[in-house]
Symmetry: C2
């Protein structure tokens, strides 16, 4: 085992439907990864079913995912982000008001201590107090991780002025748009590592509702492989004059096009996916992307990145893809900024050479 595999921290991206646990080594390298379907919804449900406080269930899930890692490397810091910090989570963490520089220490992390004495530090979310108030939990860590790898180390070369504006307009040369596709996709405007504006689209959730529970679900046949022709047809309709009525109007065409033989039942899913992403681009995108023709950073799963990239390219927008597992990278930087991890100033220096108490961890090979 090399120095590289020394365990330094555990990072939890604990959202509504999943918990992703990362074992981090030097410089935040992901040494191991585990997933659980025990998102905060499942935890709440289990707590109700078992009649136990949800904090106990959070601790059980945490032990199942990370118990071995912590047994092998006792005392390493544990950091978490996502809905685990919501009022339905393990402990309610703060929101930082934007503009907020993600790389600077913000409000104190919210700490929860397990019965075994392990302290879990939860990253604050972000809040945008505008006419349509907005919040994020978890995406702030993805954003920081994605920006850190794209722009270089956070707090480094970018000395970003904090500006806030909802509508497109005067723009810093350094400003860029980041899209984080997902169940609730987030659009963020950033300068360096400072978030100046963000907004949410319930695109992924609407897709699931339409394909699982709506009248369209009755006629759709699941396909194993994406049908890009159907997807692009949806994007084109949503972003053209034909889509003037919005998704409330165009969604019905998934039904009528099957009826008229224009669409096969196997194409309904990708057509609706294209409609939804297309309407996201025609709505939020048309406003947010004005003036940013070649400057979008895309930060989602490989599968969703592919869909958004295709849709954006149909609009003449080219994109940069963020490196995978940005949440883990972001939490690493937050833990360093908060002093939970002492990062060696010089690579190969004393810190790296001296095996700490966690140095015996062999979990890197898990």
């Amino acid at each position: 085992m090399t120095d590289r595999a020394r365990t330094r921290a555990v990072a939890l991206d604990w959202g509504t439907t999943r918990c992703r646990a990362y074992l981090l080594g030097d410089e935040g390298a992901v040494l191991a990864e585990r997933q659980s379907a025990s998102g905060i919804m499942a935890v709440s449900a289990r707590a109700v079913a078992e009649g136990t406080p949800s904090a106990e269930v959070f601790e059980q899930v945490f032990d199942e995912l990370c118990g071995e890692w912590l047994a092998a490397a006792p005392g390493i810091p544990v950091i978490a982000c996502g809905m685990v910090g919501s009022n339905r989570g393990w402990a309610e963490a703060a929101y930082r008001t934007i503009p907020a520089d993600l790389s600077s220490p913000g409000p104190a992390l919210t700490q929860v201590r397990t019965s075994a004495g392990v302290v879990v530090s939860i990253v604050p979310g972000l809040i945008s107090e505008t006419a349509l108030p907005d919040v994020m939990r978890g995406e702030e860590s993805q954003l920081l991780g994605a920006l850190a790898r794209t722009h270089g180390a956070p707090g480094g070369t970018h000395d970003a002025p904090a500006r806030t504006h909802d509508a497109p307009g005067g723009r810093d040369a350094d400003e860029r748009i980041v899209i984080l596709p997902g169940t609730h996709s987030k659009w963020a405007r950033v300068v360096g590592t400072t978030v100046t504006a963000f907004t949410t689209c319930m695109t992924g959730e609407l897709y699931a509702l339409l394909m699982n529970d709506s009248t369209l679900a009755l006629l759709a046949v699941r396909a194993d492989v994406p049908d890009w022709e159907a997807f692009e047809r949806g994007v084109e309709i949503a972003t053209s004059a034909t889509g003037y009525g919005g998704i409330l109007n165009t969604a019905f065409s998934a039904r009528t096009m099957v009826l008229t033989g224009v669409l096969a039942p196997e194409q309904v899913g990708d057509y609706v996916s294209g409609l939804l992403i297309g309407h996201e681009l025609a709505g939020v995108g048309a406003s947010w992307l004005a003036g940013y023709p070649n400057d979008v950073l895309l930060c989602g799963s490989a599968q969703l990145n592919d869909r958004y990239r295709r849709a954006l390219e149909l609009q003449g927008v080219t994109v940069t893809l963020a490196a995978p597992r940005p949440a883990a990278a972001g939490m690493w930087h937050v833990a360093v900024a908060a002093g939970l991890i002492r990062e060696p100033a010089v690579v190969g220096g004393a810190e790296r050479a001296a095996p700490g108490p966690e140095g015996s961890g062999r979990d890197g090979s898990i």
Copy 2:
């Protein structure tokens, strides 16, 4: 019992989720009404569960609703409209291509004969073969009924030229917009009783999905009385610059406004209702209503009419409400036009005086 109560026909408005049966007297007067939750979805489910052909289940439901009426007045015509004429219905009826004059005889009604020998005649739907193809089944009968009562008898004073156009533009002085709010709300452009264009919004279905199955459902508390302030806030956001991102974007504010204390959990339902209807008006409405400031006929349930009227009035549009039970009135006219019912030319004439075979019906008092 007066002549007025003589039974002349049975009309069935048989949709996806309900079947409404009407016993009609002279001039289509509704003498009695019965409802069943056995819409075509429930019929299909029952057929699968019982392992019987769905036609048998349709017949059972029909007998339960109308058996007594027909026993008391054997031989009166039975006419039906709605999804009962779809490819998941009792028998698949035709679609009429628009432009179509609803008051003129169209394609032959589709007939299905029960084991007892009762013939049920199903009204054809309408199809709009445009870039976003569209269909309706049942609303064509509501439209005809609503227009007949508003404009006078169909085929009367209005000699409407058939014109078709999707986008607003050159307009006949006689042209008007009819909105039929519902699970799938329909917007129709009509000249006299001729439908020249129509389009569908899945507004009601999206409302049900969001309030029953989405993450918003978790925080919404059901209210017994409409909160018009919350409703109007939703309409205003959706129809103002703040709503630029469409429903995908604004829906999330139902969550964040509860989080920030701007909205009470009891207001979520009406706020979301306002957002959805507002986006329908901002999307389809903005285009369709251009040039029709005071000329909208609203044809839905009393409850939905009230919501759409309020939303339209916030946009400076005044509305006329269609008389209730327009589907029954429309089917009466279709049955007369198809020769299923012989309408006396002169009120009080021979036809009215002579008791027909159906004259003994006493079901009018049911």
